[in-house]
Symmetry: C2
Subunit: 339 residues, 2 copies
């Protein structure tokens, strides 16, 4: 186990007491969880209601994280802080006023797109990436104001570079890997990774097999060497983990993630007709008890303990501490920062 | 001006920069504002979005109050803390999970009914008051848990007495007067007022003409004498002001308040075909600059400065401090109490 905080930059598990207990067994202090994809605002609120039930039912295991200081609270009380995020802007519908409402309800990350064109930007599966839209620029400014992190994990190259440029605060790519290591629409070019790091943004390394060189046959050493090489490119303080763990989800969920309500036919996304479901995870990471293997693997490829601590959580913690509060008019925002 | 905090227990003005400045001129430290009547959840959120725009536009005049300590923050920074409330449970639809969601968004008071039967209780205009419903008991427990105050201002006698009994925390009647002073469906019996005070609840005295003996011809002295007599009945620490000020509202709004969507015909509520609109206010109280007249009036009828301070704000402040935080599992709730 790392001596610093352990933070995962993205998971979308089929949550259960079993998984909450595995978070504790694995020593996970905080995790950014996807609570909504294509759900509209009211449906997203219903998902938050389900999380509130879990927080009420398992108060000794989890609680809702709202600020970076909640990571320290999690460590002090032996619980996992759960931070909400959306992988698509459907939750804000066409209403910029919902950005602050969702932030008040605890949303801390929002992808400007999933795989398709949204009202805000272009997804990485569109043939044409037209960049950030007129509304997209307004929404980025509002997200910057309230402290809702722009996440471009599923967005196109141009949209991502324009988001880095338009955002007055560092953005994140919570779950992806370098395309130079494994070519995939979802992995990112060195141009994007450089722009991200130079702007103070964060990359979370994904363990999702479609993002791995060799898929689930990828060896832990290969994964850790990729991280070390990316540290050379981006700096060791702009990177973290974002496993994209989808533990225990049925294949119907990956179909919902890909198809939502935008088509009446099937879209396989990163999968295929031959392999339409969730891929099996690599044997070295199948649930939250296995982060220590990544820590050990990073040491094994030559990273120092300080570098490992930075990658396994300290970098995300610093990013959380500076990203989740309001930006403008602190005199007004500070009293509400503890929200 | 009173030396203690000045808090109004209910207003539903047509808010504007003019009125926000009058709040400051009048030295109002905090006000419970009605943000929704018959609006469903999404419509209520839209009303909160409008309030967020006002908070962003007038940060030197107002901010959203969430805890009792925000009243002190208001006094320290020379602003007015705005606390949200609903005069009907339409905002929670038929979904108990929305109680916590609305509390997270800042709702601090919710009437179990307006004038009609709701899913939770009976309104004071129903011929039959069947008391708290099955769902009503569940919702009261949830409101107690999260720190959302039960307000029975518009409810029937039996429902109100049962709410006092079922609620594990003190409830409020934010805007009404004793029926023994002025008979009206909206004013409250001594039985209700005694049960309210014995349970630690609060009554806010209304300046709305339909609740006043003699209507808007009621003299300030009559109003203040009524308050002094009610202090003898309830104790001077269970009473405050709840003006029900509806400043600058067009008559179309009072029709919405009364008719909502429950009937296709007209309902005059406390008004009449001859006087369907908002009544004129008494000449001694027409806007937020006139609270000092009530303070002086209370002294003129023999109340001590300590008693006047209690009635003008200290009682509401104590009630705010003990009512807006979560009740159960403080270890989990405390980190979120500042919400």
């Amino acid at each position: 186990m790392t001596g610093g905080p352990l933070i995962d930059g993205l998971q979308y598990a089929k949550w259960s007491e079993k998984i909450f207990r595995q978070l504790r067994e694995g020593g996970v202090d905080a995790v950014h969880v996807t609570i909504t994809y294509h759900e509209n605002f009211r449906e997203t609120v219903h998902n938050i209601e389900q999380w509130n039930r879990w927080f009420e039912t398992y108060p000794d295991l989890i609680f809702q994280g709202r600020t970076g200081s909640d990571v320290e609270l999690a460590r002090q009380t032996g619980r996992t802080a759960i931070f909400f995020g959306s992988q698509n802007p459907s939750c804000m519908e066409d209403d910029i006023g919902l950005v602050e409402i969702l932030h008040t309800l605890g949303l801390r990350f929002m992808q400007l797109t999933y795989n398709n064109q949204s009202l805000l930007a272009s997804g990485c599966y569109e043939s044409e990436d037209t960049g950030i839209t007129r509304m997209g620029r307004e929404v980025i400014a509002e997200m910057n104001r309230v402290g809702l992190v722009v996440d471009m994990s599923h967005s196109g190259e141009r949209s991502t570079l324009e988001a880095v440029e338009h955002s007055s605060r560092p953005i994140a790519i919570t779950h992806a890997n370098p395309a130079s290591w494994h070519t995939a629409l979802r992995n990112k070019s060195e141009t994007v990774l450089r722009a991200l790091s130079q702007s103070g943004g964060m990359l979370g390394f994904s363990v999702y097999p479609h993002h791995l060189k060799g898929g689930n046959a990828c060896r832990l050493q290969d994964f850790c060497e990729m991280i070390a090489r990316t540290a050379d490119l981006m700096g060791v303080h702009q990177i973290g983990i974002g496993t994209d763990l989808c533990q225990d989800q049925p294949d119907s969920v990956v179909e919902w993630m890909r198809v939502g309500r935008w088509t009446k036919s099937i879209d396989y996304g990163e999968g295929s007709a031959a392999a339409p479901g969730f891929p099996d995870m690599p044997d070295w990471f199948s649930d939250n008890r296995h982060f220590n293997r990544i820590s050990e693997g990073l040491k094994a490829v030559g990273m120092t303990s300080e570098e490992v601590n930075a990658v396994m959580g300290e970098n995300w913690l610093r990013f959380f501490e500076t990203s989740f509060g309001g930006s403008a008019d602190q005199t007004r925002k500070v009293p509400r920062a503890a929200e």
